[in-house]
């Protein structure tokens, strides 16, 4: 099995060893996201299980030219966990859940901090205006609604939306440009 492939690519090719490595590498990250997005601990545990099943299913859809593996894992996890929250007839992960106050676990942090892509995105965000950075942080990291962001920052709702659109567009463009994806070798 070629080792210049990412774990997800290897899983898509049927590499069973990569499945175990993927669990070891990303379970901490996914657990952190589950604790941020789902209130109940046992629900979060089942949410993590759901996410990995979804990862096995979506492995073939992963395109390393579009994003790093960690970003792909976070995207699949975020989508699946929000779906789960909705199915449980709760609000999606908006403002009240901030009070749960879960951060990213050390394992989760390690899974993404070494990514060249993450470093690039951090630099990009740092190049944005403080106001735009704040809006992006409140929306993507803390999950606040547009309205809540507008109230908190005292910015017009339209400005909040345009900051988000522009910021995410910049990130989308940068994702396509990051050449080093920090492939995982095992």
């Amino acid at each position: 099995m070629a080792t210049d492939l990412t774990l997800i690519e290897r899983i898509a090719r049927g590499d069973r060893h990569a499945v175990s490595l993927c669990i070891e590498q990303y379970s901490g990250l996914v657990w952190s996201l589950a604790r941020r997005l789902l209130v109940n601990r046992s629900d979060a545990e089942e949410g993590v299980q759901d996410v990995f099943i979804e990862l096995w299913r979506k492995a073939k859809q992963y395109d390393p030219s579009q994003s790093s593996e960690a970003t792909f894992v976070s995207m699949v996890a975020r989508r699946r966990l929000i779906d789960r929250a909705r199915k449980e007839q709760r609000q999606p992960p908006m403002e009240p859940l901030m009070e749960i106050n879960q951060g990213l676990s050390l394992d989760g942090h390690r899974a993404i901090e070494a990514s060249a892509e993450t470093q690039q995105i951090i630099k990009l965000i740092e190049s944005m205006t403080p106001e735009q950075q704040t809006v992006l942080r409140l929306s993507t990291w803390l999950g606040m609604s547009h309205q809540a962001i507008a109230e908190r920052t005292e910015l017009p709702l339209g400005t909040v939306k345009s900051h988000l659109r522009r910021g995410l567009n910049q990130i989308r463009e940068r994702l396509g440009q990051v050449e080093s994806r920090g492939k995982t070798k095992a």
């Binding site: 090719r13 965000i125 995410l168």
Partner: protein
């Protein structure tokens, strides 16, 4: 990127959808607009790109001023993931060359996962012994209204009320603070020593900026240690309203005498130099 023909309004709507903010009315408006402009074919790809951007931003934020959660993954969860993978991909002896990214046994796997869940007691791993386990399970079952359809999570406010209904739960109120910015803060601490669970309720607590400082709870428990127990860090991001914060005690609490809040650097500290912003004494 293939959305160059999409106008800002459409991108706004798709961004809102990706962030879970889109109302049903706007969802319909989005679909109608996409249809009218002949862009439905590119929607899925664009949506995926936006979601990737959100995930990338989220990861970047986590590494750049995000809070580090010291709570480890539950014991046994990783084993469950390996067991799920084993079930999903079939026998470990299966050939590894022909790509079962979506294996033939997916339907069987889904059926198996959708079976009624095993008794909660069999799944729950508690650090407590004997009666404490029974008490904990009784509480969790009340909380989650199990058993056949899976847990129904409660929000912190509901969980706090459920905890108040349990035996051995104590409620202590915050004393008026001597610090001007906090002297109008009110609320209480709900703590159940048997279950080792509790909640802070704070009304009118000033908001903090998590990138600069965070609040940290301390549990004064001389039976346990001369130093207070770290009860976890938390943020109040919208001041002048009620917030409910789950207590995250890093050690087992034996006999709490008081609860106190300090403001510390992001992520909290091991030993605080104060000052005590709020105090509630048992």
């Amino acid at each position: 990127m293939n959305n160059t023909t999409m106008n800002d309004d459409l991108i706004d709507l798709m961004t809102e959808r990706a962030l879970g903010q889109l109302s049903a009315e706007d969802e319909q408006r989005l679909i109608d607009e996409l249809k009218a402009q002949g862009l439905l074919d590119t929607t899925e790809q664009t949506q995926a790109e936006i979601e990737l951007a959100i995930a990338a931003a989220m990861n970047a934020m986590a590494c750049h001023g995000g809070q580090i959660d010291q709570t480890p993954m539950p014991e046994g969860l990783e084993q469950k993931l390996h067991a799920d993978a084993e079930q999903f991909f079939g026998s470990s002896k299966q050939a590894a060359t022909t790509a079962p990214a979506k294996p033939s046994n997916v339907e069987e796997f889904d059926r198996a996962r959708n079976q009624p869940k095993e008794p909660f007691a069999a799944r729950y791993r508690s650090p407590f012994l004997g009666w404490a386990v029974a008490a904990t399970l009784a509480f969790v079952i009340v909380l989650t209204q199990l058993p056949e359809t899976g847990p129904v999570a409660l929000n912190p406010s509901e969980s706090r009320l459920a905890l108040i209904d349990q035996t051995n739960t104590e409620i202590v109120t915050w004393a008026p603070s001597e610090i001007p910015a906090f002297n109008r803060v009110s609320g209480d601490v709900v703590w159940n020593n048997t279950l080792q669970q509790g909640y802070l309720r704070l009304v009118g607590m000033p908001a903090n900026d998590p990138t600069i400082s965070q609040y940290q709870l301390w549990i004064v428990d001389p039976e346990r240690d001369a130093n207070p127990i770290d009860g976890g860090v938390f943020d109040v991001l919208n001041g002048n309203r009620e917030v409910i914060i789950p207590i995250d005690a890093k050690l087992d609490v034996l006999d709490p005498e008081a609860f106190a809040i300090t403001r510390e650097q992001p992520g909290g500290v091991v030993v605080s130099n104060g000052p005590l912003l709020m105090v509630a004494t048992s």
